[in-house]
């Protein structure tokens, strides 16, 4: 371990429930608790929320990428029958303040533009009307006079912009929002000592999650109490009042956020604070409850959830024997017009930037660039999907330059099973793993050796068939320092270090276990996993667990489903709650059984005397007696009525970043591992890629529900296939977003998915989380792009095609083939 990491001491494990065989409920593919209501159309999504007297909002959006608003005339719109009000950014600013930002110093953003728009789709006026049809009629009548400004579309050119092309001239002289450099360990010395430096320029283009449900809000303003009641499909409902109360000019006590079932997020609905502020402000101005549901066009152009858009100049220092010494890169990231989460997506990537490999040092310069596009937000991977791909591209490049087999080179550099916990140069640790076993299983499932023979045979026939292998990390369970650790050290901003998860649990007199969650359901399975874990720990029947959701005023700060953290974190809260309930049940039960608490145990929903049959009291009996028959128990506080507890679980293992950022501390330590192997055939004349075979093996520690985890892997892999082959936001030179619709932004359908996908699991438990659970919500998208890119490059090896940018849509791939063919002809 390099000396710069000496100060980063790994805290002791707080694990209480050891991973073990023979569990009853953990590890079962039970049917999901959430499903019956969803399957019957009664899920309760945001657009299903109806409140009395509710009006609908429609937006007037900017057609320009960059323009000054000279004037807005709302008079015609106001005359439309059924319109309640028409409001501009200036009107909104009378009741709300600018949006919160994690960037430090922040890039100011208003929920509705004032004076200037900075991307196509930015809202400049809103209509509140009896229904959405009328609201859109009126929105079409709002007249805006524009003074068009130069649009910044290209990431490098935007850095050079001056004058009117600068997006935020009052705050920044240029479009560079942040430029920070880091060296984790002896980067310079390692590069100087290296035999070779592999260099690549790599480009990851913009796309986004595009959940099938868009974002939406229903906001009510109570003029008497001076507060808001807000339904929204944010993932973060119990946390967000604290963050947006300032913008709404109310205290969290005057702001009640009510969760709804969310129709998919993949990160895209983590905050959605802009439209919450916008809709709330409209409700206050209009004096009626307002519903605003983004339409698909608005979700594409204005939802603050665009994914990473990066240009890397990357170097890998290697020795002739193939061992990796160091890596460094300069990365430019096109964040769009604002910077809501700062460079948190790069902080995130620091969790596993060196991949599963032994690399002694790592250096980075990160430059956040502002352009005239909608700003970035999270998308499955939160930036780590990109560095996974960069790492794997570099390894493939090294294999090629060293004349080595890419798989062998990976194996040579992989961290060994006895090296865990393993600290990488940035300071994060990998808690546990067995990369070799994952690789071995993938190799077997995929039958790599046979595939390699098939590839040789196909090549001999002139076909472009290839295989690709990716061995990647899947960090899970974040600590929040990733959001600010890369910020300028003098102004790091709000240096948050807690992101807990909590539940409250109560055994009611009927014996049911009532559980309240503080995090919403976004397609993950919070009710199912909580049910399984509590059933396991308390020996109750899953059918006796009843799940509810707190609102923001009745629950504790939950963080919710993001960063593949919910299952592992809520397991901690469930264990805490179980320990407390167990203790209580035993105390009351023992009294009823006339035994000492040490002599009883939990057994099948009963408190039972150890070693004795038939000496038991059911939880129902105990709860009933403890709730209704106080006088049956001794007169002490410990026998007060009720069987309930609130349990909060903090991050199990994190440390502070080094004050000088020699390392970033431990912040994302529960680390899974994945291996994807894929075979493809490329039609060189059309650039079409066909997936012939696919195997994915994931190690996410102890699995709570294999089927729900399998679904996450499948879904993430589908996202990764889209990212690689078909999904890209395409802008023209004026900053017009040319394909903001489902017809042209091509997400995979059932036809595009491999037909013979093989899924495997290795279970290396975490030594730090309860039962050894790790997160697993992002892995597919963290591995698929790398494996597919390698396979495509392999298929086109004989033609000399190199893939340095994603996506490779058929037109793009055909262009690469055409250029390579032309270069080959020229070379002859």
């Amino acid at each position: 371990m390099s000396s710069h990491l000496k100060s980063n001491v790994i805290p002791p494990s707080r694990q209480r429930e050891k991973p073990r065989a023979g569990l009853t409920w953990i590890g079962q593919s039970i049917k999901r608790v959430e499903d019956p209501r969803i399957l019957t159309g009664k899920g309760g999504y945001i657009d299903d929320v109806v409140v009395a007297g509710m009006a609908q909002a429609a937006m007037v959006s900017s057609p320009h990428a960059h323009a000054r608003i000279v004037s807005i005339d709302t008079s015609k719109a106001k005359e439309v029958p059924g319109v309640i009000g028409v409001y501009t950014g200036a009107d909104l600013a009378t009741v709300v303040d600018p949006c919160p930002s994690f960037a430090s110093p922040p890039v100011p953003q208003h929920a509705m533009a004032i004076d200037k728009v900075r991307h196509v789709g930015e809202v400049v006026a809103a209509v509140v009307a009896e229904d959405r049809y009328i609201a859109e009629d009126a929105a079409a009548l709002v007249e805006v006079e524009w003074e068009v400004l130069p649009a910044n579309v290209d990431i490098e050119a935007s850095l050079e912009a001056t004058g009117d092309a600068v997006l935020h001239p009052d705050d920044r002289k240029s479009n560079c929002a942040l430029d920070e450099s880091f060296a984790f360990g002896p980067v310079e010395a390692d590069f100087a000592a290296a035999d070779r430096v592999i260099t690549r320029r790599l480009r990851w283009n913009r796309s986004s999650a595009q959940a099938i449900e868009t974002c939406g809000v229903v906001a009510q303003w109570d003029a008497f109490k001076g507060g808001y009641t807000i339904h929204a499909n944010t993932n973060f409902y119990s946390f967000i009042p604290f963050v947006i109360g300032g913008s709404l000019r109310v205290s969290p006590g005057e702001l009640k956020m009510i969760p709804v079932l969310t129709g998919g997020s993949f990160g895209s609905k983590v905050f959605i604070h802009k439209i919450i502020i916008l809709t709330a402000g409209l409700a206050r101005l209009a004096g009626v409850p307002v519903k605003y549901i983004e339409d698909r066009l608005e979700h594409f152009t204005n939802s603050d959830s665009h994914g990473s858009d990066r240009l890397y100049d990357c170097e890998l220092a290697v020795m002739e024997d193939g061992s990796f010494k160091s890596m460094r890169f300069t990365v430019l990231d096109d964040y769009g017009a604002y910077l809501q989460f700062g460079v948190g997506t790069h902080g995130n990537a620091m969790a596993q930037v060196t991949g599963p490999y032994r690399i002694g040092s790592f250096g980075m310069r990160v430059i956040a660039v502002l352009t005239n596009k909608c700003q970035q937000g999270p998308y499955r991977g939160f930036g780590s999907e990109v560095t996974n791909w960069v790492m794997e591209r570099m390894v493939d490049a090294a294999a090629e330059e060293l004349g080595r087999d890419p798989l062998e080179l990976r194996e040579q550099n992989m961290i060994q099973p006895d090296e865990f916990p393993y600290m990488i140069p940035t300071g994060n640790i990998y808690d546990s793993g067995n990369f070799q076993e994952v690789l071995g299983q993938a190799r077997e499932m995929f039958d790599l050796d046979t595939w390699r023979a098939k590839v040789r045979a196909a090549r001999a026939e002139g076909r472009c068939v290839g295989v690709g292998v990716a061995t990647c990390m899947e960090r899970s369970v974040y600590g929040p320092t990733e959001w600010w650790s890369l910020n300028n050290r003098e102004t790091p901003g709000f240096t948050l270090t807690s992101t807990p998860e909590g539940i409250s649990a109560r055994i009611d007199p009927s014996g049911k276990l009532f559980v309240t969650l503080n995090s919403c359901m976004v397609g993950n399975s919070p009710e199912t996993v909580v049910t399984q874990i509590l059933a396991e720990r308390l020996t109750v029947d899953p059918a006796d667990v009843v799940i509810n959701y707190a609102d923001s005023q009745t629950g504790f700060n939950g963080v919710g489903p993001q960063g593949s953290r919910f299952t592992a974190m809520v397991a901690g809260a469930c264990v805490t709650a179980s320990i407390r309930l167990e203790e209580k049940l035993k105390r009351f039960g023992a009294h009823m059984l006339q035994r000492r608490p040490e002599d009883v145990e939990l057994r099948g929903g009963m408190v039972a005397v150890k070693g004795l049959k038939d000496q038991e009291k059911s939880f129902a009996e105990i709860a009933l007696t403890s709730s209704f028959f106080r006088l049956s128990f001794p007169d002490g506080e410990e026998f007060d009525s009720g069987m309930e507890t609130t349990a909060v679980y903090d991050h199990p293992l994190s440390t502070d970043p080094h004050p000088e950022r020699e390392h970033l501390g431990i912040f994302y330590p529960i680390v899974g591992h994945i291996c994807h192997m894929v075979a493809v055939e490329v039609d060189p004349e059309t650039g079409k890629v066909e997936i012939l075979d696919y195997a994915a093996v994931h190690d996410n520690g102890t699995i709570v529900n294999p089927r729900t985890l399998g679904g996450q892997v499948w879904g993430g892999t589908a996202n990764g296939i889209g990212t690689t082959l078909s999904e890209q936001f395409v802008y023209d030179a004026d900053g017009q977003f040319t394909n903001p619709n489902f017809a042209e932004f091509a997400m995979p359908t059932a036809h595009e998915m491999p037909t013979n996908f093989k899924l495997g699991h290795v279970e290396t438990p975490s030594p730090y989380t309860e039962y050894g659970i790790k997160g697993g919500g992002e892995g597919g998208r963290l591995g698929a792009p790398s494996a597919l890119t390698s396979a495509i490059e392999d298929a086109l090896r004989d033609r000399g095609v190199k893939i340095a940018a994603l996506p490779v849509t058929p037109p793009i791939l055909r262009g690469l083939i055409r250029d390579a063919d032309a270069a080959a002809v020229a070379a002859e």
Partner: protein, 166 residues
């Protein structure tokens, strides 16, 4: 524009309504009929989450006007089965984990039910083709395909049971 009176059958029940001609069937179902199970994901005909059955045929409800339903028979997800009376296709989706966020599910159920009515024992390719017009961002489709295969089995078995002499 004047509202038009229509009569239709909704999930087996006769209903009457007054609708403005421009009201999309999807909005009519969700708002006027207060049946929120039909979801709206794109309003340009691509995602399929708004699929419903009109006279037994799967259609995009965002690409029809409610006035066109005069005299028609409409089946939405609410007509498939309730919590205690799940339809075999719903059962299969539950057992096979054919949903995550569930937003695409009602449309998938409509597509699946049309397929299985016409093709009781579909091949995997036929299942893929039947749901290719329904985008799901969560599942990667695999468990949906498995659910439809299992639903086909359930429905075939149910048919055998009811036709066999007792």
């Amino acid at each position: 524009m004047d509202k038009v009176a229509i009569e239709l059958t909704v999930n087996g029940r006769a209903r009457q309504a007054l609708v403005a001609p421009r009201v999309l069937l999807s909005d009519f179902i969700r708002q006027q009929l207060a049946l929120p199970g039909t979801h709206v994901g794109c309003e340009h005909g691509v995602c399929g989450s708004c699929n419903v059955l009109v006279n037994g045929v799967a259609v995009r409800s965002c690409l029809m006007f409610a006035v066109q339903l005069d005299g028609a028979e409409l089946t939405t997800v609410e007509g498939f089965g309730g919590a205690d009376t799940l339809h075999p296709i719903q059962e299969a989706f539950w057992e096979e984990h054919g949903l995550q966020c569930g937003f695409c599910t009602p449309g998938m159920l409509a597509a699946a039910s049309e397929l299985l009515a016409q093709t009781p024992d579909p091949t995997e390719a036929e299942i893929r083709e039947a749901i290719a017009g329904n985008l799901c961002r969560c599942t990667g489709y695999q468990y949906i395909i498995e659910a439809i295969r299992s639903a086909a089995r359930k429905l075939r078995e149910a048919r055998v049971e009811t036709t066999e002499p007792v």
